[in-house]
Assembly symmetry: C2
Homo-oligomer: 199 residues x 2
DNA sequence: TTATATAGTAAGCAATTACTTACATTATGA
DNA sequence: TCATAATGTAAGTAATTGCTTACTATATAA
């Protein structure tokens, strides 16, 4: 039992790596098996088909919202510190899951419903959490009366595009220094806006 | 001469449509030819190979910055009206080029350099133009002293993610009403920030 | 020891697919 | 009218690829 699931895990990890690099159709079962260190036959014995292997990959790496466990601790921080924490955590979380993020980008055509589910669970889930945080601060009278979900989408959206441009399109890793500096700017704009005389 | 280039255009348009829907590897040359209303042989006579057809597609649809021609007229608008105009134009431009946007998402693995070039020319080009606009207003003392390029990336980033989530991931078209309402919110936050007491 | 689960070797099949060759047909422009 | 450019028809090739079959080998647990 253990042996079989170890083999499955090796195959799924190999598939994750290869498919994120060359796409689902561009990756062969032979290649996945070789990368996992097993025979192609073993792949079919464990998963039955390439498609089901990919579906198990999606199910296993269907990631949870990245911030849920972060939110309770946010109350003790200043608004600015809280947003910086959220932004940093979100970007690091994207970096960790970069192969999966790439797959949601490139395979949406192939498995629209499944990929959409993976994507929305991550991005939208995270956005909902952040929106709740905004709402709480609005009730305390600290924030203006904007639409919380849309503001959350705006905040995550600028971070996500930043990640996408740097890590996926330019193919360059975001360094810690870059991240600190740029997150600081994003948070500053998000908090104070761009106009000289405040609201 | 004219006949030949008409045929090429039909083939490129068919390829754009199909590849944006099913990916480069998921689209066959037979299918492209059939959709274009010609024989598969004609495709190979015009382009030599599937790869070169795709490369011509990328070259032809390598889009220019979406805002360049918009910028000169921005001076006569208020800051808020200007940003709303830029945002609306940017979103409409993304909608128009949705097949190409989808291709840049899904085929980055296959043609990293070429796709990167297409992407950066559009997004980064547009961002640079917007950054110049910010810089001009900063010199006039109207805007705070933020980093103009990063602010431009933040603004475009939230719009781009908004487009991506709605049109590509959710697969639903952004209506005019949605766009007006949401662009208004984005612009408001970008201008005034989220904090109750302005800067 | 022995049954069972797991994996390997080897060979191959059937379908797909990018691409080719040979030849015939039609449209266009001088 | 005639040369040429452009497209079509038909058949096929070589490579790839997901998946199968038949048989063997090894490790583990009762």
């Amino acid at each position: 039992m253990t042996k079989a699931s170890e083999t499955k895990e090796k195959l799924i990890n190999a598939a994750l790596k290869l498919i994120s690099q060359k796409g689902y159709l561009g990756t062969t079962t032979r290649e996945i098996a070789r990368t996992a260190g097993v025979t192609e036959l073993t792949l079919f014995r464990r998963f039955g088909s390439k498609q089901r292997l990919f579906e198990e990959l999606l199910a296993r790496h269907m990631f949870l919202p990245a911030l849920r466990e972060l939110l309770p601790g946010l109350g003790s921080l200043s608004y600015e510190e809280a947003l910086r924490t959220v932004a940093t955590r979100f970007l690091l979380s994207l970096k960790e899951r970069k192969p999966m993020v790439k797959i949601t980008h490139s395979e949406i055509n192939l498995y629209p419903e499944k990929i959409r589910k993976v994507y929305l669970q991550f991005i939208d889930g995270t956005t909902v959490d952040l929106a709740r945080y905004f709402q709480a601060l609005q009730k305390k009278g600290l924030l203006r009366g904007f639409a919380p979900e849309l503001a959350a989408r705006a905040f995550m959206g600028m971070l996500f595009s930043y990640f996408r441009t740097e890590e996926i399109m330019k193919g360059a890793a975001i360094t810690k220094k870059m991240m600190e500096r740029d997150v600081g700017q994003f948070v500053d704009i998000f908090i104070h806006g761009t106009l000289r005389n405040g609201s």
